[in-house]
Subunit: 409 residues, 2 copies
Amino acid sequence: MALIVQKYGGTSVGSVERIQHVADRVSQSRRQGHDVVVVVSAMSGETDRLLGLARGIRSDADGRELDVLLSTGEQVTIALLSMALESKGCPARSYTGAQVHIRTDSAHNKARIQEIDGARVRRDLADGKVVVVAGFQGVDESGNITTLGRGGSDTTAVALAAALKADECQIFTDVDGVYTTDPRVVPQARRLERITFEEMLEMASLGSKVLQIRAVEFAGKYNVPLRVLSSFQEGGDGTLITFEEGSMEQALISGIAFNQNEAQLTVTGVPDQPGVAYRILGAVAQANIEVDMIVQNVGADGTTDFTFTVHRNDFDKAMGIVSARAEELGAREVSGDPKIVKISIVGVGMRSHAGIASKMFEALAAEGINIRMISTSEIKISVVVDEKYLELGVRALHDAFELERAPAA
Amino acid sequence: MALIVQKYGGTSVGSVERIQHVADRVSQSRRQGHDVVVVVSAMSGETDRLLGLARGIRSDADGRELDVLLSTGEQVTIALLSMALESKGCPARSYTGAQVHIRTDSAHNKARIQEIDGARVRRDLADGKVVVVAGFQGVDESGNITTLGRGGSDTTAVALAAALKADECQIFTDVDGVYTTDPRVVPQARRLERITFEEMLEMASLGSKVLQIRAVEFAGKYNVPLRVLSSFQEGGDGTLITFEEGSMEQALISGIAFNQNEAQLTVTGVPDQPGVAYRILGAVAQANIEVDMIVQNVGADGTTDFTFTVHRNDFDKAMGIVSARAEELGAREVSGDPKIVKISIVGVGMRSHAGIASKMFEALAAEGINIRMISTSEIKISVVVDEKYLELGVRALHDAFELERAPAA
């Protein structure tokens, strides 16, 4: 018997029928002898309906009252799910974020959880009840309703699991786990049984949007075992996101992530002196353009080349800013390409293995794919290539690292 | 400068446009220098939408979780109205029932208010804010959300007004006040400037459904001056419901109420002995049939006649029960008529004036209207007549008591 926190997103509770289905799954876990806490989102479409009402009142609706409005979405779901559980003979009790004391700061619309008082939940669990908690919302020191921002229900689930010292936090979603890469690109892509938090963070930020990054960070920080499961498919084990690196699969790398929305800007012949990077990127940042990769090579002849990538939508704007700035700096040339992609291999295994990078570059070279930029971190190697090579590159790497085969235990 | 509690019902806040309109009215009161607390219902249709979802889960939805669900309706309205006020430059702050400590008992779906802590509201008012409170809902001792049952928003407004010692509680509705009688029957019917709580209670229970009876009782008990106003019509003063009998209009009677849904049952020749009334009406009550008027005459020859009225829908069922019981009791005959109406004149003035009853009977006799039953209380005289005489009777009485003319001050 374990204590499990389960989280169901908006699509999973998107209709009365789906809520009944979730109630079946929860009852099943309960019958298996587990203590279950369920965190739910608003029914899909409901948050947008409420935002529509708010925008009918004022186009710039935000702050305290928007939170009062939006938090009703999850409140509807907790009531309906509790009713469904009770009608299936499974005693249940619903709580809003405020009722279960999910204390946050006062940053309305994007609050951060500060502390959770699990006493009330523990009492209900001890009474044999399933506890149903509204995700995405909390309450500040003064009793004002706050929301955590979109996707915050994942964070609620993880934070509750941490506060209750749950054995596992299960995130039910519309995919049945984390894959070695996008199965739409590589049909042989394999579901991972386990992945580490660090790998998951790299995968998530690189475009495998299975979980909210904040939730993963939170889970890592508080050592909460996270499991991603399908709410529509029965029986799968999903993917366990764990901090137990020791018991990891012995693979060199775990997965291949990619990002199709990058654009590249290069300033060549910049005088190689302190403050140059700041003077180029400072102006870009001030325009609220997010910069992803940054690469600068060792200079020669007193000048250097400086390259960075931005979201494709920001390309023209960034080019304008950088061109003006380059002239001031006396740079030789500014060039750019909005049609590039980033491909990354991710894996804690590469920490202790040499030769991973060269194996990656070899695989790409064998397919005639030219690498434009390279950037590395401890558990990730990213390359930027021409966008036409995306599928070819991902498949070549998936093959080269034999990701379709489950590693030996 | 006064402290005013204003209550707007579901129709008054039924759309984004109407909420903007309410915000205009509230801002106007604020600009006149008043401190304003606003109580709102769910947008019209919203409670039924939520009930529909609940019934999709289980047909017998009730209890704790139904309250969690339904209370979101008002929460949406308080957020939208506060946003609308803020966007018009009128600082506002919304509160759910729980946030403003509307403490109730734990009778879910029909809770009763026990106490309100007005401290938070007073602080916001002192800060120059309009306070917007969700009607119809509260919180029990353990922090569970409760609802007061349909129409409970009136009660919330009155209870808040009492707790805050407000100068007036204004109920905005779709009529512009309380009339001497139904204007659809008597076009000359006149809006009353004032009416006493007792009269209002008699008018309300007799079919003038302007306000919830519980709210009027509450207002009377705590001496809260209540005013009924139209939320759609500008400029009217509505009707003030007051406890200040001394400053009343000097009218003999204030209004004429009627009830078209009555049916009459008579048992004749019942042995005149103790327990007879109970043995007839006990069986009717056990069948959950509500009895309205009851009249029994002084007996003669050891027998008596016993007449009572029920709702027309219950007539057949009541006839069956009473016929069976009459046989057991050895009564002579049971007769009934489902086509009768009750007409009542109401007024605190009749307390101190003789001859009101005879004036009423005279006016009806002059039109050839036969009176079947008579029942009186201290401030009300009711008669039952054949339903075809409804309009004629009401008009004759309206004329006889000169209700179309405002009384001398």
